[in-house]
Symmetry: C2
């Protein structure tokens, strides 16, 4: 069923979240968790800056908003940027079956590791996502480095 | 400096958090983040049951409570139970230098992977932690399996 979904439409939800974060002065990474039939379970965005909370990445926020789920194997995590180790670990621990990433150019994250561990990773190579993130990194290098634990 | 700290005293903070969680009806895993001099930065515990929030593990809660930090390399994450992939990913992404785990008998988590990636992992093999967790798993298998993404 996942193969028949409109991946770009799912990604758009995450992009809208990222842009909301940007408008709030935050790191523009958005995420959304969907059921296998494409229904939305949770959506969210990075709020390191807005709430001073380093644990809120786009993926962790979407996962949290979706609440408790009995199984994640048929779920789809969508994120504007390849997931960092924290979020890749989330995906692996809870056996989220499919991940759609907007791009992995600005940050490769753990997508190779996820693939090695049986996760289906679909990289959309979205120019919109690449440009949004590269613009942010160029203009806010300190916040970005803090967000990925670089000193 | 970390070598001279009383590891058992640091672990006790995480145990106290785990027991608080247990008294609330939750999964008894606690965590605490310390600076290199042993001062407490944040402490917390699993609240999957209490708040219906699957993203709150002992480690993520302690990390969150500590707020934004410029560097984690000299920080110490203490947890009553070996960190799952989600929490191991957190530790790796933010380059937390040292992890003290109460035990890894009931759940090995990602401690070998963390060691391979340069994290100092100190396993206390605490009988108190082992008994607390095994009692919980025996009495609450469904919640425990949900917490680690097992179906």
């Amino acid at each position: 069923m996942i193969a028949t979904l409109n991946h770009q439409a799912l990604l758009q939800v995450a992009i809208d979240e990222a842009m909301l974060g940007l408008s709030e002065g935050g790191v523009p990474v958005g995420g959304a968790l969907f059921a296998a039939d494409g229904s939305l379970l949770g959506r969210g965005h990075n709020r390191r800056v807005q709430e001073g909370d380093p644990s809120i990445h786009g993926e962790t926020d979407a996962f949290r908003k979706a609440g408790r789920q009995r199984s994640y194997r048929d779920k789809i995590m969508v994120t504007t940027l390849a997931p960092c180790w924290f979020c890749s670990g989330l995906i692996r621990q809870f056996n989220i079956g499919t991940v759609i990433v907007g791009e992995s150019v600005n940050f490769p994250g753990g997508i190779d590791w996820l693939r090695e561990n049986g996760v289906t990773v679909i990289d959309m190579a979205s120019k919109e996502c690449i440009d949004m993130m590269s613009d942010y990194i160029i203009n806010n290098p300190a916040v970005w480095n803090e967000d990925i634990g670089e000193e």
